[in-house]
Amino acid sequence: MPQVKFIEFNGTKHNIDANNGDSIMVTATSNLVPGIDADCGGECSCATCHVLIDAEWQAKLAATSDTEESMLDLNPDRSAESRLSCQIIMSDDLDGIVVNLPEFQY
């Protein structure tokens, strides 16, 4: 089982074993990791599962789709590390991925 290392904005860490095939969003909500609302359930419709992933891990991820890009684009808090966690599907390749939870989403 690949592990996701969630880090809340205040530094609290949650190391969670994810199921292959689950999104990072589902991994968070299924394990009470705070700061990910995911109101639309993973449809890329609400942008309430915004996370920050550094460049090194981003390099291992599929690029953002047009829809994800559009949902992120106009967020004033968007950074180069921004992703929507419902769009990132866990696999063994992502074992150990570090996912930072932004303060603005609390």
């Binding site: 909500t29 299924s30 394990n31 009470l32 705070p34 609302d37 109101d39 639309c40 359930g41 993973g42 449809e43 890329c44 419709s45 609400c46 942008a47 829809t67 559009s70 949902m71 684009d73 106009l74 967020n75 004033p76």
Partner: protein
């Protein structure tokens, strides 16, 4: 042992339980739901779950073991019969009784039922639960002609799935246009043409007067006219489930009346989701919504306040609907506007119609236009230059400054 009891096991219930544990609540949490599944997402039911694109595991909000892991007592298949506010207990149909310190009513809503001649024939379905959709899916395997009663979002989403899977589809709408209750004539026309172009036969100004068939429906009657159909889906609106609250003497008025903290007229009882009638401080009026984001956020607010916080529920309503390859995202209510401003070309199936009132943005219908949807959430209540808003050469970002 008393603690927090939640009536209903839909999305609001599941979110409230999770939020309570996230809020470090260590007392007992009991969820009593009359469906047989743990909390699941309803929006995909008329879309990707109906089409088979998403299976049951993807529709679940959280895996079933989550509830056990978090020491949340989830009682599915359990119908609550009554709430005794003086004893602070709820009693189920099997006679079990649960004490509560705080109670959350998240009973949701149910489909409005047709009661006309023949409406009890088999082959006539409603769509609200996963069980409903499982039987619709099974019926669609052999059905050839499907008749959808009601041209609202549920009916049109089903029409899209059904026509795509090769069925002959007719939509009957009583009003003079589809989506009459929820959108503008302009958007109704766009969606009418979209479905007609895909082969859906839409009949407006057409009320259903009855059904005929031997046990199973075979004919839909619209006055003197007869129409063949071997499967009927009725989507004519929902009714909030307020009966328990009403019988317990809680204030109700088109929903369970709650304040901006999601509290009912009893300080120990909260309510969240489709069943509530709540104030919206941003819009300055009361609303009853049929909406997942509303259910989720009211659940979070209820949970916080049950744990002693002082949280106000104040969100701008938003909605979405998937039909074919089109994602419609909506903010606010188009009926609130006095002017509409279109951005993009309808012919491309990628456009947005913004609605302004006194020059301020109050709503958007955004088709395959997530940027416009997101910008509307930020522009809500703010004045914009309509000419800039309609000009696709003007970057949306510049409107936010």
């Amino acid at each position: 042992m008393s603690g927090i009891v939640i009536i209903g096991a839909g999305q609001a219930a599941g979110q409230a339980a999770a939020s309570l544990r996230q809020g470090k609540y260590e007392g007992s949490i009991t969820i009593l739901g009359n469906e047989t599944q743990p909390p699941y997402q309803r929006p995909p039911l008329s879309k990707q779950y109906l089409s088979g694109e998403l299976g049951m595991d993807r529709v679940m909000v959280r895996p079933e073991k989550f509830y056990a892991d978090q020491d949340i007592a989830l009682h599915t298949g359990t119908r609550v019969e009554s709430v005794d506010r003086s004893a602070k207990t709820v009693t189920t149909s099997s006679g079990d009784s649960y004490e509560y310190d705080k109670l959350l009513i998240a009973t949701g809503s149910r489909p409005r039922i047709l009661t006309i001649p023949g409406s009890d024939l088999s082959g006539i379905h409603y769509l609200r639960t996963i069980d409903d959709v499982d039987s619709i899916r099974e019926a669609m395997q052999t059905a050839k002609k499907i008749c959808i009663v009601g041209g609202g979002y549920i009916g049109l989403e089903v029409a899209a799935v059904a026509v795509t899977s090769g069925l002959q589809v007719t939509v009957l709408e009583m009003e003079d246009r589809i989506l009459q209750r929820v959108t503008t004539p302009e958007m109704s026309e766009y969606y009418h043409e979209l479905h007609a172009g895909r082969g859906v036969n839409i009949r407006v100004n057409t009320g259903v007067s009855g059904f005929q068939g031997e046990d199973h429906v075979s004919t839909v009657l619209c006055g003197d006219e007869k129409m063949d159909a071997d499967l009927v889906i009725v989507g004519i609106g929902i009714i909030p489930n307020i009966e328990l609250a009403e019988a317990a003497g809680l204030d109700c008025n088109n929903g369970i009346t709650v304040d901006d903290h999601c509290r009912t007229s009893d300080p120990h009882i909260y309510a969240a989701g489709d069943c509530t009638n709540h104030p919206n401080p941003i819009m300055g009026r009361r609303l009853r919504l049929e909406s997942v984001p509303n259910a989720m956020e009211q659940a979070r607010v209820s949970a916080s306040n049950m744990l002693g916080a002082d949280k106000v529920y104040a969100s701008i309503p938003w909605f979405w609907s998937d039909q074919y390859d089109l994602k419609l995202q909506m903010v606010g209510f188009s009926a609130d506007g006095d002017t509409s401003v279109q951005r993009g070309d309808k012919a491309t199936n990628q456009f947005a119609v913004f609605y302004l009132k006194d020059g301020k943005v109050v709503s958007v219908d955004a088709v395959n236009s997530p940027r416009e949807f997101m910008v509307c959430k930020q522009l809500y209540g703010k004045a914009v230059d309509p000419a800039a808003l309609s000009d696709t050469n003007v970057e949306l970002k510049t409107l936010l400054n």
